[in-house]
Symmetry: none
Subunit: 196 residues, 4 copies
């Protein structure tokens, strides 16, 4: 009987290796050789588990989003409306090392996505999920009377999500100017203003 390997496990190993490289050295450093080496395998292994490099990158992006979603699901348990929304936004911002790495990966993918239809489609599909979550939380908050009337909830969602991404990339690029504390304060302020 040969050594039986769970393909899913091997794929996860490779994707994790790719993710580590992207987070550590940038997306351009994620060559197939580097990924294989980081995973502790030879070049050839990748062939058995992925059609090509793009599939690895896409998987890395999806895996990152899946991790974020999972983390969110736990945090959101028992929360609704603005309370839940606050958690969502804070969770999507680089306030600890893990999130800093996640944001770095995400920003690296932004540039790639603008040049790759495949990646762009993944990016869009997954961004839609987060947007739906934010909109539905806003609606729940509105129905619960937590939000002052007269707001276009779609606009609000758009603004919050853009603010989260903008602050995230600024936190990475200009950490001394946009400290963690200020970042958190700005996010919280935004939620409070919705209620005001």
């Amino acid at each position: 009987m040969p050594k039986i390997v769970d393909h899913g496990v091997r794929r996860d190993e490779v994707v994790a290796a790719a993710t580590r490289i992207i987070m550590r050295d940038g997306i351009d450093a994620a060559t197939t050789r580097a990924i294989a080496k980081e995973a502790g395998y030879s070049n050839g292994v990748l062939t058995h588990y992925f059609a090509d490099k793009d599939e690895i990158l896409v998987s890395a992006l999806e895996a990152s989003h899946r991790r974020i979603t999972e983390r969110l699901r736990e945090k959101l348990a028992g929360r609704t409306g603005l309370d839940a929304l606050r958690e969502v936004l804070l969770d999507n911002v680089p306030l600890d090392d893990e999130r800093v790495r996640e944001t770095g990966l995400e920003v690296g993918f932004w540039g790639r996505s603008l040049a790759s239809a495949d990646l762009l489609e993944v990016q869009r599909r997954e961004a839609a999920d987060l947007r739906h979550l934010v909109v539905s939380l806003l609606q729940a908050a509105a129905e619960a009377g937590e939000i002052r009337s007269g707001e276009d909830l779609d606009d609000v969602a758009e603004r919050l999500l853009a603010l989260v991404d903008g602050l995230s990339v600024h936190r990475l690029l200009y950490p001394s100017r946009l400290t963690g504390g200020r970042l958190e304060r700005l996010i919280l302020r935004e939620i409070d203003l919705l209620a005001a």
Copy 2:
């Protein structure tokens, strides 16, 4: 008699060529050969004016920022306070083709900057200028009584700049969701709220 060449002029030509390529075909298409060809020179010239390709890219980023600054300076002539601030923000957002290309270039550099100390330093230096401009316009507006009291102007500046970058990248990644009209409306709304 050696040929006298204005180094600055040559550098500008090459950087302009690199910028055209990055905006047209993406940063990955900006190979040294492509840049030299676009500039109308041979491969070898680049050596005389730039230490390596990275120096060209850095210069292209600087030049883009310089162009934006110049454009702003013209638009700001005769304007002050919130009126000027409105122009600054609208000018930094991809509402026409030129700005879409500029934003694409910028987003491409974000990813690179996170993996390159050189680029990161350029990015920071130049971002500081824009921030100073915004802060000083906010202060002028505050002194002119255009802004409701109680606002931390540094926080406001941070929020506006993050929003501009966040909306910009979203406009590129999710154009059907964040239309030009909505983008403009969100920016204008932000200014109005400062006054409210």
Copy 3:
């Protein structure tokens, strides 16, 4: 109790799989993985029955010749002389799909044989059989008075076999110029001229 496997049967299965691939997708598509998969086995099995890939290819060539020989034997039952010869020649020419595939395989091997002593030896050994058959049919025809006198039968055989191979490759390379009808006519004409 070890599993008892008929090596010959396994080899035949693998060779048949290789042949199908070569005929369907060309000799370059006949990778070891593709052959194993086509045969319904894992990659590793090939090791037990063949020293290396070349041995599989050689076997495929031999098997193809054996199939042709067998088919001929059936067709030749009850025939002799020029009548039998006509069948032999027509059978060796790509007039239907099966023969087109056979010819494609053969032409692919010609090129390889010129660079591989092993293949060349197989090629020669098997070509000798066909030649002997043609010569003996010619001799029978001559003894039966079917062929006009004065012909060097070795030369005739050589000419007929060369013509068959030449027309075969031309039929594949220039199908619109050398139609099936013309090919058949040319072959039949050749036989008729022997008698004339």
Copy 4:
């Protein structure tokens, strides 16, 4: 002033190197690295003179045909009809080392052409030229009364060309059986029979 290289010359060098390899070791041995090495350059040079490997192979095939055509043109000077035809056929058959190598190259390309639309098109285009030459020589011979009446000249051309290719590949594969002498005799005989 830089070293100026005649691109045509460099291309010819590379094509000649590729041709030598194909003739010596077979078309599968003609890797880009092997070609560059044989030409005395590094891998990278090929890029400057050829779009890709296929262009080198196509050029090698065309160059071989051009050499043959040129050689023919010289031999045909002052000849017409069957006399010229005899030269054409003898010239297209591996009777000396140079022609043996040429035939080896040609046979290697046959296999490739069956799997590559590009090569097939080159093959067909160039084969058409030779066929036109043969047909026109046959027509001239017919008009001069050198050929017995009642022959379909297209069929004759087809038969002669197939015979030439068939005998050529047999001479390479089975040299001891089809000697140079017999090959020449068979060709000459064919011409004589046209007149008979």
